[in-house]
């Protein structure tokens, strides 16, 4: 199964609210992580986003499932700003995952 989510269709071109992102992650991504062979987050036509949204969407996923999740994830259609936000969210998720292991 391939899970492909076009964010512009669900949120429009501006992604800003971390609570919206967290709800989306819990409802639309988390339940399918184990059964999906690939997960594509498609940011095509998304113009702007902030750290609150991207962290809530991605950092928690990476924290929960670890670096192995990245082997099945693809980030599509990111402009350079969103690419930075995605990289930082993944790094934050990995840092939190490491902290959990150490705790």
């Amino acid at each position: 199964m391939k899970l492909e989510l076009r964010l512009v269709e669900d949120f429009g071109a501006t992604l800003v609210d971390g609570y919206d992102a967290a709800r989306y992650r819990h409802g639309r991504i988390e339940p399918f992580v184990d059964m999906a062979e690939s997960i594509v987050l498609d940011f095509t036509s998304v113009r702007t986003a902030n750290s609150s949204f991207i962290n809530a969407l991605i950092a928690g996923l990476v924290e929960q499932h670890g670096e192995r999740l990245l082997q099945k994830m693809t980030f599509k259609g990111c402009n350079p700003v969103i690419q930075v936000l995605v990289e930082a969210a993944i790094d934050l998720g990995l840092q939190k995952s490491d902290e959990r292991v150490r705790a």
Binding site: G18, S51, I90
Partner: protein
């Protein structure tokens, strides 16, 4: 209680004014005297808007005095300060499109995405297109606005306002947001952070700038919004001021952040964030954001492999 507005309400010049806004006696009327006012920027406008709204919510009568003698009454009208404060005053001018010049005082409601798009497009016309020369300014304005407005809406428990101005001749952009909520320190205390009971307002502001200090298990908020806003301010040679309760934090270009208290034992009920930055520093926002994340430890050099596709 009568408050005479000073000649200039801009930059750090608002601090003595904020101290004057201390709580009136229960039921006491408030008179704001505009007669001496000659210059006001967004930071002064949003402060007045948020405070007047707080007084009105307390069922206090608020009067604006000497607007007919004020040198900038038409500017106050163009910036919608009188309208959002519920004050009617006949306009003796024709309104024109404010695009590229200023964003009138606007209530921060739950449509943070729409607000940020509108304000960013007004400050950086054309920047909606990522390849446009104004896109860096559009992105910077949008980022700062959405992160600070989210704080107002999700944590302050109060009502907030935003205003902005771009002065093309100077090449400077001014953004300001103010709310009349519980302030940063009380937000931390309500969230149950144990250290919050032992700190004061200036220290609470400093804590809010540390990455992930306000991050709480089970909450989507990672506590990096103000961290990155202050990092972006430093990288763009901006002037940033945050006021909350008795605390004041100021970041000036090429200087370390300075924490202080409001003068004369003042206390601002709510939080005020004001930023002035040179437009030319905003042209490559992706690089700025990357550097701000690296400097605050939110993006390490050694990274996991990530698959990006066009």
């Amino acid at each position: 209680m009568e408050i005479i507005l000073p000649e200039r309400l801009k930059g750090a010049g608002v601090l003595p004014f904020l101290s004057q806004l201390r709580d009136p006696q229960p039921g006491e009327e408030v008179i704001l005297d505009f007669g001496r006012l000659r210059r006001i920027t967004p930071v002064g406008l949003v402060t007045i808007a948020a405070t007047v709204m707080r007084w009105r919510c307390e069922n206090r009568r608020v009067h604006f005095r000497n607007l007919e003698r004020c040198a900038v009454t038409s500017y106050l009208q163009r910036m919608d300060l009188l309208r959002v404060s519920g004050y009617k005053w006949e306009e003796a001018f024709e309104r024109r499109d404010s695009k590229g010049r200023f964003v009138p005082v606007r209530l921060l409601d739950h449509h943070v995405d729409g607000m940020s798009q509108d304000v960013a497009a007004c400050l950086a016309p054309g920047g909606e297109d990522y390849d446009h020369p104004m896109s860096g300014l559009y992105d910077l304005a949008s980022y700062v606005l959405t992160e600070t407005a989210n704080n107002v809406r999700q944590h302050s428990g109060g009502i907030g306002y935003v205003a902005a101005q771009a002065t093309r001749a100077e090449g400077m952009v001014r953004l300001a947001l103010a709310d009349n909520g519980m302030g940063i320190l009380q937000t931390f205390r309500d969230a149950g952070f144990p250290w919050a009971k032992d700190v004061d307002d200036p220290e609470a502001i400093r804590k809010a700038l540390e990455p992930r200090v306000s991050c709480k298990a089970g909450e989507p908020n990672e506590g990096v919004g103000l961290t990155l806003v202050s990092g972006l301010a430093r990288l763009t040679q901006a002037w940033l001021m945050i006021v909350s309760g008795t605390g004041v934090l100021r970041i000036k270009p090429e200087s370390d952040p300075v924490l202080s208290e409001l003068p004369d034992g003042g206390h601002y009920q709510g939080t005020l964030v004001a930023m002035t930055f040179p437009e030319r520093e905003a042209h490559d926002f992706a690089r700025l954001l990357h550097n701000a994340k690296v400097e605050s430890g939110l993006l390490r050099k050694h990274r996991a492999p990530i698959r990006f596709e066009p």
